[in-house]
Amino acid sequence: MDILILVIIGLLAGPLLGGLIAGMDRRVTAWFQSRQGPPIMQPFYDVAKLFGKEKMVVNQWQILCAWVYVIAAAISLALFFAQSDLLLIFFVQAVGAVFLVMGAMAAKSPYSQVGAQRELMQILAYEPVLVMVCVGFYMVTGSFSLGAVWQQDMPLLAKMPLLYLALGYALTIKLRKSPFDFSTSHHGHQELVKGVLTEYSGPYLGLIEIAHWYETVLVLGLCALFWHTNVIWMALLLIVTYMLEILVDNTMARMTWRWMLKRVWLVGMGMCVVNLIWLYAR
């Protein structure tokens, strides 16, 4: 019964929190650029408007892919809230991410095709980091189950600081922020029009936006687990992390996928491996 309630909280918290975070993100970004920015509720207006638009698809695959993406993202967050197995959450999330790419590949538009290829590169960059973080959780708690985290009496950040930094790379990629926003950008424009999202429109774009919120909340939730002992410190950690993300987004240029692979694999995975070796030797 408890698990059912947690699942329902997870399913609701994803869109609500995700939308609010996206709204505040736009507000803070506008503040950094000395603009006023849209209302906090703006992402909800955007998605509601998209649901009210005409259903226009290139082919049936796009419908399936958009739905699988949002369902996989929702299930992975629900599993996260139900304190399930980290690896299971991770694989369900990965299935969704791959379906987004498949939907983009189903259309013949070059923007969507190139965007899909770049999205694959991004998945290739952040998924190993997420696996390493899961392994870190296992080495500290002795289990892949999230429930085991709560039995720790010290914040995990103390034991896996480098893994947290590496998770920052994955978070930046997942949030589609500069310098890693080359498959599609959360800003209006980029050189591939809208990259992987170009061919999705109307309600299906709305579904993908909601799936994106679910994934944002999932990765931020993973970050939150690093300070599970105290709610205030957990909130502070999340706020500082997110503000850093926005700062990086506003001060960095968009880079190439080669640059990303080098950075994330050498620096990100390097930090992961060093941290894991330290955990093993300890």
Partner: protein, 147 residues
Amino acid sequence: MFGSFIKKSRAKSPWIMHFDCGSCNGCDIEVLACLTPLYDVERFGIINVGNPKHADVLLVTGTVNHRNKKVLKNLYDQMPEPKAVIAIGACGNTGGVFREAYNVVGGVDKIIPVDVYVPGCPAKPEAIIDGVVLGLAKFAQKVEEAE
């Protein structure tokens, strides 16, 4: 309840696409000026998207000629309903000083239905924002009539 929220959201989240149909760039600079911190149209939820499939409002600047009329029609057809078209500047409205030129078709309304005409050479950013607001009212009206 959800239906009324969608209706309210339409007016609050107009994503615009800007198409330069052979303008001198004067009006285009003014359109882009709307996005700068001075005017900051994102306050109203307006985003300048580059993709007709995501756009609600099409801003067209410049005269239509025989070369680009197909492109203009194609872009219009790719936009999902409900949508609005706003012609900007003297050239977009009527063809302007190029009206009599041999290669010019005329204003935007010769090819696609236009909802709002924003005059000026170039049109001021304030006038363009006004035009978008008027365009939203028009397409809310259109949606209601269709229902």
